[in-house]
Structures are given as structure tokens and as C-alpha cells.
């Protein structure tokens, strides 16, 4: 008995070795390789200017991925994020577009995100609708509301503060990246270090266990969707500041990109596993790939193909080769 324990707990178990590194840091290595190879193929890729561009572009996706991470760890999926982004942005710019409207604009946008998340969460927990469908349905409905509100023609101007946050840099460091960093730290700590975060993992790992542990699993799940909705709304505002023009489709494609980024970053769709950092690295990979293929001057068709291949390969590269 005693020696059994010794043999099997000996050496702390955190096995080193190549396979271990590969399975835990595969995605980090992948990103580094990707950047290195891109830099070699196209030197302009590594120019300060271009790096700054990519940093500027990673923030909105990164912010969405943080929320998506919560939802996916909770065994869910949020397809409504892009619709939330667009709706928040469209409604926010529907005001006169001056800074004095800011508190109102931000409050309303966040309310849209939170409200959508709440509906998603309640559908998933109280009605047992599968997350894919619940969020698909809210995505469609939100689009309907948005069109009904704007009559299809969004108008108004983006407040100057959003322009600063969305597009400007401070000594080469974009403000939106700083925002991403702040959010990543806050939500990273929330997930990895707070009691709530632990409840997220337990609920995602096994909802029944969570319930029997007295965790209000429903409330945890709903909170996950609300976080995702709110972050999507923030990302929508940041993205509206990026160009200063808002159309009905701000954030188009972010729903799938954010899921793909999360999965590439090791957040398993089966729930209970993954980290914010992983998700952000996944997001960075997507941005790098998009930028690199442009820098290589590849025709648009190849860009699309390469993106598809990278999605599959990065996920395959990371996947734990368990028995």
C-alpha cells in the first residue's frame, strides 16, 4: 500500500518530456512557429507597423473569446456574439455621437449584451434547449430586432472616445489591446482564481456533481452566458471605434472565429477544460494567419483555404492524444 503510493505519486507526476510539452504547449509553439515562418517568408510581416496592426486587430476578437471561453468551459457555445456586437454598436451609434452620451451608450450596450446572455442562459438552463440552438435563435432574433430598430439603415456617429480606444495607440501599443489585457486579467483571475471560476469548471465538468455540491449550476451557467454577452457588447463598441463607421454587420464572422479560436486554444467543447490564455493564443493565431496570407500576396481563394487548414491543423496539433 505504502509503496504503491510512493511509486505512483513519486516525482510529482508532472512528467516532463517532449510529449508533455507538446500536449501542453503545442499551441504556443504553433503560434511562435507561425510568426517565425511568416516573418521569414515576408519580412514586412515583422515590421513594427504590421505588428502594431495585428495587435490592434486582435483585441476585439480576443475580448469575444474571453466570454466564449466561459461558455464553452460550461459545456456551451455562444453563436449570438456577433449579433450582440452589431446590435450594441448600432444602437450605441444611434445616439448623437458625442462623448457626453457615453455613460448612457455604454449602459445600454452592456444591457443588450447582458440581456441576450440572460435569455441564452435561461433557455439553456430552464428550458434545456441545446446551447447551439438557443444562441442560434437569439442570434436570429437579435438581428430581427436590430433591423426593426434601424429599419436596416444604421445611422449616427461613433463617439470620439470609442475612436481613441478602438483605433489609436500609445507609443505603438493600441489602447484596445490594453483594454483586452485588463479584461483578460480580470476574467482570467475570475476563472482561474475565484470561487466562481472554480464553480464554472466543476459545473462544466459535471453539472450533476455541481448540483450535489450545492452549487447553483443554473446560475453559474446563466452567468457564463451573461459574461459572454457583455464582453461581446464591449467588443462591438471597440470594433465600432476601429473604423468609426457602423453597419449592420459589425462583427460578422466573430461567432465562428471566436469558437474556433477557443477550441484551437485548448478549450474543449466537451466542457470543464481550458484557459483564457489558451483562447487568446487561438485568437492571435487567427489574426496572424489572416494577416500573413495577405502579406504573402496570396489570392483570396488561397487565403480562405489556408484559414480552413490552419483551423483543423492547429486543433489537431493541440489535441491530447489520450487513449
Amino acid at each position: 500500500m505504502t509503496d504503491a503510493t510512493d511509486i505512483k505519486t513519486g516525482g510529482e507526476g508532472r512528467s516532463s518530456g517532449f510529449r508533455h510539452i507538446l500536449s501542453n504547449y503545442g499551441i504556443h509553439i504553433f503560434l511562435v512557429l507561425l510568426v517565425a515562418v511568416s516573418g521569414i517568408v515576408s519580412p514586412a510581416f515583422l515590421s513594427a507597423n504590421n505588428i502594431s496592426n495585428m495587435l490592434l486587430q486582435v483585441a476585439p476578437l480576443g475580448i469575444v473569446v474571453i466570454g466564449q471561453a466561459f461558455v464553452i468551459i460550461l459545456r456551451g457555445l455562444d453563436l449570438s456574439v456577433a449579433s450582440v456586437m452589431a446590435t450594441a454598436a448600432v444602437i450605441a451609434t444611434g445616439f448623437s455621437g458625442v462623448n457626453s452620451d457615453m455613460p448612457m451608450i455604454i449602459a445600454i450596450s452592456l444591457a443588450i449584451g447582458a440581456g441576450t446572455g440572460l435569455v441564452n442562459g435561461l433557455l439553456v438552463t430552464k428550458r434545456d434547449v441545446s446551447p447551439f440552438l438557443a444562441t442560434l435563435a437569439t442570434m436570429i432574433m437579435l438581428q430581427g430586432f436590430r433591423f426593426a430598430y434601424t429599419q436596416g439603415a444604421p445611422s449616427g456617429n461613433v463617439p470620439p472616445l470609442f475612436r481613441v480606444v478602438g483605433a489609436e495607440t500609445f507609443y505603438g501599443i493600441p489602447y484596445n489591446l490594453m483594454l483586452l489585457a485588463v479584461l483578460a486579467v480580470i476574467f482570467g483571475i475570475l476563472l482561474a482564481r475565484s470561487r466562481f471560476g472554480r464553480e464554472v469548471y466543476i459545473t462544466g465538468g459535471n453539472p450533476t456533481t455541481a448540483r450535489l455540491l450545492g452549487i447553483n449550476a443554473d446560475r453559474v451557467i446563466v452567468s457564463g452566458y451573461v459574461i459572454s454577452g457583455v464582453l461581446a457588447a464591449i467588443a462591438g463598441l471597440v470594433l465600432s471605434g476601429y473604423v468609426g463607421i457602423v453597419d449592420n454587420w459589425v462583427g460578422r464572422g466573430f461567432e465562428l472565429d471566436s469558437i474556433v479560436a477557443a477550441v484551437m486554444g485548448g478549450i474543449a467543447l466537451s466542457g470543464g477544460r481550458g484557459t483564457i490564455v489558451g483562447g487568446l493564443i487561438g485568437a492571435a493565431i487567427l489574426i496572424v494567419v489572416f494577416n500573413a496570407v495577405l502579406m504573402f500576396g496570396m489570392p483570396v481563394q488561397l487565403q480562405i483555404i489556408i484559414k480552413g487548414l490552419v483551423i483543423v491543423l492547429a486543433a489537431a496539433f493541440y489535441v491530447r492524444r489520450s487513449v
Binding site: L123, R127, D128, V129, S130, F132, L133, A134, L136, A137, T138, M139, I140, M141, Q143, G144, F145, F147, A148, T208, R211, L212, L256, I259, V260, V263, L269, S270, P299, V300, Q301, L302, Q303, I304, I305, I306, K307, G308, L309, V310, I311, V312, A315, A316, V319, R321
Partner: protein, 318 residues
């Protein structure tokens, strides 16, 4: 063990199908109150015909979902195959047969690649097929940036032809659904599809051909996409690079409305067929009611949620 009556067991285990059929009739009755023209045979036949394509794509999707997977590449697959169909036929009636056969084969192959990718790479089907979808979309655009070629004269028959006053395409689709339904019930492979969806790891331990089942269902999905591509070329007269784009998400709705659970292992194709009818009928009724698009979107979302909430088995809460 209290034995339940066969009927109540059937209803319990096929809730999706039953609910969808009931809703379908309810909507038909409702529609005929709205407008006299709704009741016309030609309108009903239109709806019947309009739903064929959607039903076709959803057929393959149903099988993928029954195994607990999902096929997110259907849209791109349809686009690519439709381009190839019209591009290769290019108006030449002699090419109809060889191209049709070739496209079906190609669809099956692409589907098989999806399946093999899922089996070999051990990644979630959602990710594999999303990636594959992007690759196929790229290839489609490489082949042609615009509509390619054109359908040969007479090819329209597939989509618009009628026998005994009924659209051939719709009849073909019904026949195909019945065939697949019988297959699911009476072929061993059909039973294994349910088993794999119910418990993947278990299927492997039981020595069931799990990999084979997965490759098979995605191949069927590819096959259905090929049929859809051919049908669209017949319907539209040409293939286009984005023709299928809406079907990726659209194909999932009839499946779940028809009572197949996204988690896999439960459901069936007949529910999907009626689910597709229901969705087309809803569109039709909303059109007759002059509901503006904005509200149609909202209605669509509500319907998906409502339909799905009906089937959900309240999990036994412990």
C-alpha cells in the same frame, strides 16, 4: 414491469415526429383562415416543392447529428459542387449523365474526407467540418469567381418537372427519406448510427465499427449535398460560388425541429422531413400575413426555441 401500450410508447419515443405533424396541420388550418389563396393547390404544391432542397441537405445533416456530430461544411460543399455541375455540363445535354454521376461521387468523397478527418484527427466534428468548409469555399472560388457554365436544356425537369401534377423533386426526396428511414431501422449500420451517437466510447468497446459509422454518415451528408447541388443547378440554371452558403445553419433547423437531439443518439429522419415542410410552411404563412422581414426573423427564432423546448426531456435532476 408495467407494459405500456405500443401507441403510447411510439408517441413517447417519436415525440418530435408527432409534434411536427400536429403543428403542420395546425398551421395549414390557420393559414386557410388567413387567405383563400393560401388554400389553393398551387400554393400548397409550391411549399411542398420549396422544401425539397432544404429537406435534402437536412437529411445528411440528420445522420451526422444522430452520431453526435454536425456537418458545418454543407454550405460550401453545395456551392462548390453546384459550380462544378454547371461548369462541367456547360449546356451540353450529353454531359448530364457523366457529370451527375461524377458530382455524386465527388460529394461522397468529400464527405468521406470529412469523416476520415474526424476519425483520424480526433477533433470535434464542428471544427473539422468548419475548416473543411473554408477549404471547399476557397476551392470553389478558385474554380470560378462568378456563375460558371450553365445547365443543359431540359435539365430544369429535375427541379420543376411534375408527374401526375406533383413535383418530381419533392417525390424523389420523400422516397429518399423513406429509404433512409428504413435503412436506419432495419440495417445493422443504421442501428449502429444510433449506438455511436448514444455512447461513442461504448461503441468502440463493443467492437462496433465506430470509425466506419462516422465516415459513413459524413459520406451520406456529402452525397446529399451533391444531390442538392444538382438540384439547385436544375432550379437556378447555373451554379454559383455562394449558392449554398445559407444552408449550413438552415439545414440544422429542420433536424432539431423534427425532434433529433443535437447530442445524438435520438431522433430520426422522418421528423426532419416534416420539419422542413413546417419551416417552409411557416415562411409561406408569414408571407401571406405580410409580416415584415424583421419580424419574420424574430418569429423564426421563437419557433426554433418553442419547437425545441417541447421535446426536451427534462433531465432527471439530482
Amino acid at each position: 414491469m408495467a407494459k405500456q401500450s405500443p401507441l403510447s410508447t411510439f408517441v413517447k419515443r417519436n415525440r418530435g415526429l408527432v409534434v411536427v405533424i400536429v403543428l403542420l396541420f395546425a398551421l395549414l388550418i390557420f393559414g386557410s383562415f388567413i387567405s383563400d389563396r393560401f388554400r389553393t393547390t398551387s400554393n400548397i404544391l409550391n411549399v411542398f416543392e420549396q422544401s425539397s432542397g432544404l429537406a435534402l441537405v437536412s437529411l445528411g445533416q440528420t445522420l451526422a447529428i444522430l452520431t453526435g456530430g454536425i456537418d458545418m461544411s454543407v454550405g460550401s460543399m453545395i456551392s462548390l459542387l453546384s459550380l462544378l455541375t454547371s461548369g462541367l455540363m456547360n449546356g451540353d445535354p450529353a454531359m448530364i449523365l457523366p457529370v451527375t454521376a461524377g458530382i455524386i461521387l465527388l460529394g461522397c468523397m468529400i464527405g468521406a474526407i470529412n469523416g476520415i478527418g474526424i476519425v483520424m484527427l480526433r477533433i470535434h466534428p464542428l471544427i473539422v467540418t468548419l475548416g473543411m468548409g473554408a477549404v471547399l469555399q476557397g476551392i470553389a472560388l478558385l474554380y470560378s469567381l462568378g456563375p460558371a457554365g450553365k445547365a443543359p436544356p431540359g435539365f430544369k425537369f429535375l427541379a420543376y418537372g411534375k408527374v401526375l401534377g406533383l413535383p418530381v423533386s419533392a417525390l424523389f426526396v420523400i422516397a429518399l427519406f423513406i429509404l433512409v428511414a428504413l435503412f436506419l431501422r432495419y440495417a445493422r449500420l443504421g442501428r449502429y448510427i444510433y449506438a455511436v451517437g448514444d455512447d461513442q466510447a461504448g461503441a468502440r468497446l463493443m467492437g462496433l465499427p465506430r470509425s466506419g459509422v462516422i465516415i459513413f454518415v459524413y459520406t451520406v451528408s456529402g452525397f446529399c449535398c451533391a444531390l442538392m447541388a444538382i438540384y439547385l443547378v436544375s432550379r437556378f440554371g447555373v451554379g454559383q460560388p455562394y449558392t449554398g452558403v445559407n444552408y449550413t445553419l438552415a439545414s440544422i433547423t429542420p433536424v432539431v425541429v423534427g425532434g433529433t437531439l443535437l447530442a445524438g443518439g435520438r431522433g430520426g429522419v422522418m421528423g426532419t422531413l416534416f420539419g422542413a415542410y413546417l419551416i417552409s410552411l411557416i415562411n409561406n404563412v408569414l408571407n401571406f400575413m405580410d409580416v415584415s422581414t424583421h419580424y419574420q426573423l424574430i418569429a423564426q427564432g421563437l419557433i426554433v426555441i418553442a419547437a425545441v423546448s417541447i421535446y426536451v426531456e427534462k433531465r432527471k435532476r439530482i
